[in-house]
Each structure stands twice: as C-alpha cells, then as structure tokens.
C-alpha cells in the first residue's frame, strides 16, 4: 500500500484529522480523491460553485442550505479539513470503539448530528428556528401543490408541537426534545463512511 501512504502523506496534519473525525486512512484517501475531483481548478479549497457543479444537488430541495452548511459565516471557501469534518457528522456511531472518558465529544455524536440539522433551519444563526425560517424550509421541501395557507398551518402546528416555552420559535433544546424518539444514529448516518 505504498500509494496509500504517499497519498496520506500529502495531506497535512492527517493524523490530527483522523483523530478528530475517527475516519480510517481509507476513508480519508477516498474523501481526498473526491475533494480533488470537486476542486477542478486545483486551488486546494472548494467554493460554493464547486458544490453547485454536483448536478444531483440541484435536485435536492434543500441542497443549497446543505452547501451553505459547509461554509462558516463570512467564508467563501472550505478546505479539506473542514470538508472532512463536516462529513464526519455522518459517520455511523461505532459502539465497539473504546470511549475515553476525557476525550472530547466525537463529531458524529447525536447532538452534533442534530446541531447540523438544526443549523440548516436556523439561517440567521440566532439559535432559534423562527416561523419564517421554518416556512422557508417547508416551502422548499413541499410540493408546489400545497397552498401557502396549508403551508402556514403546517408550520404553525409544527412549531406548536415543539415549542415548549411558548415563544413561537424552536430552540435547539426544543428541537432536540421533539426528535427525542427518533433514532438519529440511524437516520443521520451514511453506510459507506463506517
């Protein structure tokens, strides 16, 4: 596996990255290849339009938001480390890996997965999903046949369900509570990142 090692060596700080994300070298290499393929101009980082070039993403109703999640506010680029770290959210939780008590919470923990989902809604980053934000997502995800009135009533009801402190917004805590029964590990994991 000489080529494996040489590819790995080309990535800076690969040890740290693997430590943080829990990915195996094979994953890192695979993701690195993909990263390079996306980065057509070879700049070493990705811009939004690189993601835009993935044609399937345009088919995704919330694709733009997901792309947006790769970019921290104010930044126009994403480097390989961040790229891998974002994807690490979707690594299935491995139970057999020994848990060191003082190690930081892994990226793919339940609450981190939820946080990722939450920030897709919370576009103004105020820690709350407002009715408008919810409406935007719903409008994006629901078919055009649904009228605005129906949409609004769905949004209202959705907020009503989750809103515990009656402020007509959904905070992260409320978001987490409303999804308590859902097995996030199953729903937010990708098999081949295992």
């Amino acid at each position: 596996m000489g080529s494996t090692n040489s590819t790995l060596l080309k990535i800076p700080n690969v040890e740290v990255l693997m430590q943080e994300t829990g990915f195996s070298p094979a994953h890192i290499i695979r993701l690195h290849d993909r990263f390079k393929a996306l980065d057509k101009e070879g700049r070493g980082h990705l811009c939004p339009h690189d993601f835009g070039a993935i044609k399937e993403l345009a088919m995704n109703p919330i694709g733009d938001r997901i792309i947006g999640a790769f970019f921290s506010p104010g930044k126009e680029t994403v480097d390989f480390h961040t790229f891998v770290k974002i994807l690490a959210h979707f690594r299935p939780v491995d139970k057999d890996r020994p848990k060191e008590p003082n190690s930081p919470e892994p990226i793919n923990s339940r609450s981190n997965k939820l946080k990722f989902a939450f920030q897709l809604y919370d576009q103004d980053k105020d820690g709350k999903i407002s009715r408008d934000e919810l409406l935007q997502v719903l409008r994006a995800m629901l078919g055009m046949q649904v009228t605005d009135e129906q949409l609004e009533s769905i949004a209202d009801r959705t907020i009503q369900e989750a809103d515990l402190d009656r402020d007509d917004t959904i905070s992260f805590e409320e978001f987490r509570k409303s999804l308590e029964k859902i097995n996030i590990d199953h729903k937010m994991s990708i098999r081949f990142l295992r």
Binding site: A53, G63, A117, L138
Partner: protein, 855 residues
Amino acid sequence: LAFSIHFALLLALIIVFSTSCKAVTLEVGSVEVGYNDSSKSSATEDTSTSINGSTDGHAPSVISTLPIVTWKWHHIETPYLVALWILTCWLCKLVCELNHNVTSVIPESGLLIILGFILGGIIWGADKAQTFKLIPTNFFYYLLPQIILDASYCMPNKLFFSNLGAILIHAIIGTCWNAATVGTALWACYEGGAMGTLNIGPLQFLLFGALISAVDPVAVIAVFEEVHVNEVLYILVFGESLLNDGVTVVLYNVFDAFVSLGGLKINAAEIVKGIVSFFVVAFGGSFLGVVFAILISMLTRVTKNVQVIEAGFIVVLGYLSYLTAEMLSLSAILSITFCGVCCQKYINANMDEKSVTTLRYTLKVMANGSETMIFVFLGVSAIDKNIWVWNTGFILLTIFFVVVFRFIGVFFLNWVLNQSRLIPIDITDQFVMAYGGLRGAVAYGLAALLDEKKIPEKNLMLGTTLIVVYFTVILQGITMKPLVQWLKVKKATHSDLTLNGKMNNRAFEHILTAMEDICGRMGDNWWTRHWSYFEDKYVCRLLMKSDARKHKDPIFGAFHKLNLEDATKYVIEGERKGSLAFIRNYDSASVDFKKKLALEYADFITADVSEYDFGIDNVPVTSVMKNPIPSVSLDIHEQDRKSMPDDLSAHHLLDQHLYKSRRNNCPTYSRSHYNTSENPDEMQEIFQRTMRSRLESFKSAKMGVNPAKKLSKYPKKDSAHKPNGKPADPHRTHPYGDEDFGFSADSASSSEIADHFHGRSTNTPGAGVDNPAFIPEMDISPPMRNPPWQTETGNKTAVAPSQRAQGRLPWMPTNLRHLAPLRMSTHSTDAFVMADASLDEEAPEKKPGTHHTRL
C-alpha cells in the same frame, strides 16, 4: 369473584366440549374424525360410517304416523361438530385471556396447547382412542391460508422490503443449512449407535431434517407479539418464519421425492433436478403470488359498486392464489405471502376505507381463530397412544441439534450480513433471533403427511416433531420474555408521529442524499430507486384507481369532508375557549386568499402585467375562483386539529407533498439511468426552484438587478409576507440574501457554458415533460393554464430588454428553466439532458432566439 367467573367459564367450556365429545362417542364410535372446517372428504367418510353404526337418528323411511319433531343428528352432524369445536377452541382462548397472571408467564400459545392436552385427555377418557386430531389436509387447506394471508397483508411493507435481503438469506440459506445439518448430524449419531436400531436411512434423516427446520410463523407471531421487541428484530424473525415455511415445504417435497426414488436411483442428474425444482417451486410460487396480487389490485379498481363484498374478493382471491399454487405444485405459502405483501398498498388505496377496515378485521378474526384451533389441536393430537414411539436418543438429539444448529446458522449468517449493514444486528438481537426459532404446526403437518409405507418410522418422527414443537413453543415461549428483559433487547418504541418528526425525517433523508452526492458515492441501493420509478410510472397507473393515484384529489376531498364534519365541533371548541384564534386565522386566511386571487389574475394577464393594477376589486372573482374547496376551510381544519382525535390530515398532507428524497426511493447515482430515473415532475420542480433561488441570490448580490416582475408568476413562500397589492416588488428587498453563494459568473466559465450550450442544444431529447406542478396556480385553477403561448410570448417580450440591458445574462426567472441547467452542465452532459427534458412543446421555437441573445 374473578376466580369464580373463570371457573364458571372453564366449566362451560368443558360442558360444551363434552357435549361435542359425547355426541361423537355415541354416534361415531372409534372412527378417526379429522377436525374440519368445512371439509368434504372426512365428512363423507364420517357420515357413511356413522350411518352404519346408527341405531336411532335417521327416521325410517316408513312412518306410521306424522312425527311432530324428529331427531335428525345425522343431518347436521359434521357442521355441528365443526361449529362446536370452533366454539370450544375459542372458549379456550377466552379462558386463557381471562387469566392475566398466567398469560404473563406462559404465552398464550403454550397455554392453548396445555388446554389441548386436557381436552385430548377427556376424549381419550371417553373414547379410549383419539377421535380428533389435526389432519394435514385440513391444516394446510383450511387453517393455514388465512393466517399467512393476514400476516402478509398486515406486514409492514417498507420494513419488510428494506430488510428483504437479510430475510431471504435467513429463510433460504438458513433453512437449507438447518435441514442439511440436522439431518446429517442425526444420521451420523444413528450410525454411531446413539439411538439403537431404527429403520431409517440417510435420506429419511434428511427428510426429517427438512420438516423439522420449519420455523413456524404462527408460533413466532404468537410469542413475539407479546414480547414487543424492536421492529427490525421483529421483521427479521417474522419475515424469516413466513418465507422459511415456503422453503421448508419445497425442501420437504424434494427430499420426499428422493426418498420415493430410493437411494440407488439418485445420481447427479436427479440432484441437479432437485436443486432446479427447489428454485422453480419457490420462485414460481412467489411469482404466482405477485400475479394474483396484480389481479386483486386491478379488480379492486372496479369494485366500488359492490362495496359490501369488496373485502371478500381479497380473501377469496388470496385463497385461490394458495390453491392455484398448490395445484401447480408450486409453493403455496410463498404464493399467498407475496400476494398479500404486494397487493396491500394498492388495495388499500383503491378500496374504500370502510372496506379496508372490514378486510383487516375479517382477516384478523379468521387468522386468530384458526391460530387458536391449531394450538388446541396440537395439544389434542398428542394424547394418542398410537403415535408415541419413544426413542430417547433420537428425541433428545433432535432437540439438541435443532437448537444448536439454529444458533450456529443464525450467528454465522448475521455475521456475514453485518459486514455490510449500516445498523448491524447486535449480539443480543442475534441471540433472540436464534432463540425465536419456534417450531410449530407446519412441522407437525408435514410430519403427519409422511407416508408410512415409505418411512416406516413415521410415528417416531411425528412424535419427535410434537415434542420439538412443545419444547420450543412452551419452554422457549415461556423463557422468551424474561430472556428479552434480561438481555435488555431493544424494545419497540411506540412513537406517535409528530409533524416535527415527519418533517425532519424527510429533511434528514435529503441531507443524507446530499452528503452521498457530495461524497460522490453510490447511495444505498439500486433496486429501490428503480423500482420506485417504475412503480410511479407504470405500476400505479395499472393498479391504482386514477383518483387514488392523483395526489391532491383525495387529500382535498378528505379535507373537505373532514372540514364539514369538524365545522360544528370547531365552533363549539372556539366558543368554549373564547379564543380569538378563529377570527384572526380567518382574517389572515382570507387575506391570503385574496392575494392569491390577485396573483392568479396576474398570471392570467401576464402580457401587460406591469400596468395592471393589483387592486383586488378589479378582479372578476367568479371567473377566477374555480377551486371548489375554499382554502379557508383548510385553516379551519388545521386550527381544529388539536381537538381532533387524529391529526391524520396534516400528516397526510406532509406525506404526500414532501419531496421524496432519493435516499428513500432512488438513492443511487447511475449515469445511464439518470435522466429517466426520477419522478420527473418532482425532480424538475426542485431543480427549477433551486436554480431560480440561486439565480436570484446571484443577481441581487452581483448585479443589483431587480429580478423581473415576471416573478409574480411563481409566487413563492415569501409572497405570503408581501403587502397585498404588490406581489412582485419585495423580491428586490429580500431576495434570499442568506443563501448567496456568490455564483461568480466569471466570464471564463460562462463562455464555457455558452459553448457547451451551443454544442449540445441540437440534440434535445424528445421527451418533453410538461410540468404543470411547477406553477402552483395551474393546479388550483386549471382554467388558468391554458394560454401558454400567451404567457410565453409575454415573457419573451418582457424579458428581452432586460437581457440586452445586462448584456450577458439571459437567465430571467421565466427563462431559467431552459437556461439555468447550463450552469450545472459544465461537467456533465446528463444534467443538460435532464434539464432539456423539461422543455415544453413550445420550447423549440423559443430556444434559438435565446441562443442568439445569449451569444
């Protein structure tokens, strides 16, 4: 008091039972009467013998005087006995269910068997022989089909098919493994002298191994329904037991044929034939089931006028699929299983809700009824001196091997499966799976079917089978619950679905799909994706009623109906609460509605939209308002939902209209299938919207250009927040600024796009998919859609100046659906083809013009 009630019931049971028993002992003597649902064969036998033995009953042909009443036992004997037996068995179940403290320890199936022992003992005491026993014919033709049909009809479809791989592997490979190993191990022990001298050859051992490896769905359901394990484990055990029966029967037939042939005649050709016949029988049966499922689904399209017997059709046709498969010597169990599993979705959509409920309950009654009878008769059949041939070595070794090889097989197969599963089956689940390999009536039925001429030790095998059945059903059944608790097996979480859950589930699917795309890896599986496409395109068209197929009609119909029903409830609730919600909501809704009218109207007269005054007063409401269900009523319903027992409708709405994620239905990337593989309407719709929003954010950020007023044609969500009369303007003020990804339309890339476009534009595939759903108004008021030429030309004239003004940006929102994909298509031709598929009929004339502007 409770005890006395139970005791009284038990007494009643015994009285009823002894009546039937005594009647038989008096009349029939020692003739073997099979218990019988509506059997004919044993009925005739029965009557003939009883006529011979009758002393009274039939009135002599010569009568001296007119009898006022006569004793006509023989006329009604068989049906009477049948009915009495059914009553007896059901009373047994009643007695079991009344004793909760007992059923919490011993599962009901075990209790029924024990009660069967008691009843059998009474018969034996009265008759000195076993008059009743479970006859295989009756079991396979009258008791089993409804159980399987019920199980398959109520099967959680999605779960079943998503775990189908694992189920099939366990059912096919696991069963073959069990049959082979148990058979050979027993034979080896026999050769080693562990069970004395028996007249059993190796083939007979294999035959026995085959029949004893049938994990019985009846027993499994009965035990597992009380334990409430998590749904994946449940579906694995249950699905396996269901399919494995079919496999066992096939194996049994193959080995039976081998035994008849005799060891000497078996050569390689025969073995190959045996393997071939295994697959033909199994898959042929499944195929036949699917054919019947199609028949049923098609039939239910037209049974609306005979709603009373609608449910009956399914039962009868399901039964016919069983019998037909039996006739063709295909696997009947597999046939009826697949029939039920495949047709459920379509018939539930086609039939009236009442019929669906009727069908569900009918099947439940029949299935539970015969399940009860099966267990009771398993008990009754045991009390028979004739069938017991004791051979300690054989019996103990059988139990031992059955359990051990089951464990080995399950653990090994799960280990293999876990290599590729996203959520591995954990060790406790595997243990429960292995432990849940209960044997039941199918094994007994097969053993009873053995031909004594070919297999001299039939009774030993029958007895052993019975003991294995008792061992697994009673002992393992009793220990299952404590075991599940002790191992802390994940239980089923009963969660009431919330809108939040539903919405987020779909969002998660979208996220995962997007991540898979970003990683550039294939998604989960190819089959689901293509099947769902195929289903949407052809199967639903064939099997579903057109109104069931169209998404919105039933929803709106349901909304409408519910609204009417709820109206009174709603008013009462609102008054009681004294809340202003009603009024406020009504106002906002009506405002929205008015605005919508304005928008629709704007759409209607796009040509001179700029001059048009949006004052609602000018709108000829009657001509625009074609929607028979005013949208206000939806709000009434929404508002009222809290007090409703079920909030199905919003869930329904979400279900129907949330865009499907490719993760769910078509999660694979495949180059050759890309442009045809999605639900085209939906994909187009999403695509257009994505591109439009990207374009808007791009333009507003980079160019500072007002996106054309034509946007009013597609009122988006934020149109809801607009001031009433001006639907177009606000796009300037808040145009998705948050999603500005800075599509730096550097001239290099855009010229590249242009070249690309130019090169590709000639080979437009003809598949023009008109996508009316793209424009919401079109759905709501069909009359709005008809002048497309008008709209198009209007767009063109209105768009052209701004294009020129910008010099190089033809991507006006309306044009966008032709042009926008180009941006995406720099790296892939497929996206281009995809996008072109959305072109309307009039697009070709339009396109060249756009090119020239563009270049």
